[in-house]
Symmetry: C2
Subunit: 335 residues, 2 copies
């Protein structure tokens, strides 16, 4: 949504319904943002579908990494895959960011191996934007690092705060540590040590938060290890799906309920829309030398458009530079 | 619901609305179960309210541990509190089990310090029964042990399976390990080592499950460390509360919606009832030498009644003996 230019490489072959929904999503993103340039990466026969788009440059890549391939092996062996070529465009500076709704592990591997870590970053982290009642909350790590050290959680705090500032527009993000009690002495050894480091090193740190705060909007950023974060994300997905299907079943269990359901339907659709993670456009891998955004494999065209738009926003906002500064000069990032 | 007798000690002062809801809950439990005997523990002035109940013996305890006291300190210093006296009744064999909706940490401390661990149990674990679409799932540990070793997760598997068999009537419980991927090589070091131990040592072990399986009814028991389990439980609580309030707001956002909502209301109430953790009656602390069940601080009279009934069921089913056998003779518990 800006005249300031931003170039985003997009994986044409990413997601369960690629390339069709990717073409549609890219078309929407380009139409909505006159400053956006897309480098569309995929096999030549599929690139034809996007031939009519303005500000869209086809970049041929002849291999495809499928959803169930071993991530690191696939990235090493398929140098001409859409994921590896897309990551290379970022490394070479031809694109400021890369978006893919493909194999999450392969995208993370390509971001780490091809784009490369930012200097000083111990481990890149995958973040998810959780819709809450109020404004959304950035949760990280959600799966890149199953085992972490306290120092890594401090870095996650800096990276998540930068992401909330730049893509969600939160001037001074409040950062919480996911724990199983509010007091500093609560929780695992990891959480207790991280609490001390975060108190010392992160200006926006507000203390421990608990599982119920993940969806309450209490804080803007929640840091945790990739094991707990991944479980949390999937618990949310599972329960949301279960509750919505239960509600649907309850509302259609009798004729009179069906009639009433038709009346309340618009409200429930609006609710579902508001809780829909699609609107926040994918999960960024933070801590690499360029913007790398990973969409859900089941992404709709709308989710793809949102993911590309969020990638462009992060590029324009200087996300990579902001994280580099925060890691290099911890303590100076809240100014 | 049995003529077989069972004696349960109940903390009259446990919970935010004690003693009133406790008296009411105990009354319901006694009325529903002619074989139940209750030892009601609390200050004499409060015991008067239950004077008319049959099969209810008052046991005076003159101190009360409040919800925000430090658990272990309170248990050590308040020897005449309702929690400590209730636990002592179990240790002395006067009651087969103890139920309290009081300070969770203090109940766990009393169960461990006063009732005592079963021989061979490394660490008792707190379990929660999660309502799912199909039959419920037992999740443990949900907070007793923030840091665990793989051997402890194997014991949690045995203890959770025994609980599912006896209180939920599952003949051969399927046990899953909470992890962030399905393959044995996925996840944290802890999860990978526990996977190997569970495969070797627990007949009902079916492999890794993910966060979304917590509410899907995929397995009967899910084992995890007390950090991840506690976060999971609170994420579920938080999201359920948020979604139900959002739905309520959506349904009452206009007059016509309000009219339609009145029609669908019974279905939503039925749904809420089915998902209500109250019906499964509290969280057992497994691995101690007697049945110890801890209710939510906000327990209703119905939740208290359910908690007392579940405690009686576990006493009658020989939960403590079943766990003792499973821990002493691992591998023999599924026969």
């Amino acid at each position: 949504m800006s005249e300031v230019s931003a170039t985003v490489a997009v994986d044409l072959m990413g997601g369960d319904r690629a390339p069709d929904v990717v073409v549609e999503g890219v078309g929407s993103a380009l139409a909505a943002d006159p400053g956006l340039h897309v480098l569309l990466v995929g096999p030549e026969h599929a690139l034809v579908a996007a031939a009519g788009f303005e500000r869209c440059t086809p970049v041929p890549a002849h291999e495809v990494i499928t959803m169930d391939e071993h991530p690191a092996n696939a990235v090493r062996s398929k140098k001409d895959s859409s994921i590896v070529v897309g990551a290379r465009l970022v490394r070479e500076g031809r694109a400021g960011g890369f978006f893919s709704a493909g194999n999450t592990g392969a995208c993370m591997a390509a971001a780490t191996l091809v784009v490369g870590r930012l200097r000083g970053v111990e481990r890149p982290a995958l973040a998810a934007v959780i819709p809450t009642g109020e404004r959304p909350t950035v949760l990280l790590d959600v799966g890149a690092n199953a085992d972490v050290r306290p120092e890594m959680l401090l870095q996650f705090g800096h990276m998540g705060a930068a992401y909330a500032r730049i893509t969600l527009g939160v001037a001074s993000p409040r950062v919480g540590l996911l724990n199983i009690g509010e007091e500093p002495t609560k929780g695992s050894m990891l959480a207790q040590e991280a609490y001390a480091l975060l108190t010392e090193g992160l200006p926006g740190f507000v203390g421990n938060v608990e599982g119920r705060d993940v969806t309450s909007g209490t804080v803007d950023v929640i840091v945790t290890d990739g094991f707990t974060g991944n479980v949390t994300l999937k618990v949310l997905e599972g329960l949301s799906r279960q509750l919505l299907s239960e509600i649907k079943a309850a509302l259609t269990s009798s004729t009179i309920n069906k009639l009433a359901a038709a009346v309340v339907q618009p409200s429930l659709v609006a609710l579902k829309e508001r809780l829909d993670p699609d609107v926040y456009g994918g999960a960024p891998l933070l801590g690499v030398n360029g913007v790398c955004m990973i969409g859900h494999g089941s992404s709709s065209a709308r989710a793809i458009a949102s993911g590309v738009a969020t990638t462009a926003k992060a590029v324009r906002g200087g996300l990579t530079e902001a994280i580099a500064v925060a890691i290099r000069e911890p303590g100076g990032d809240a100014v």
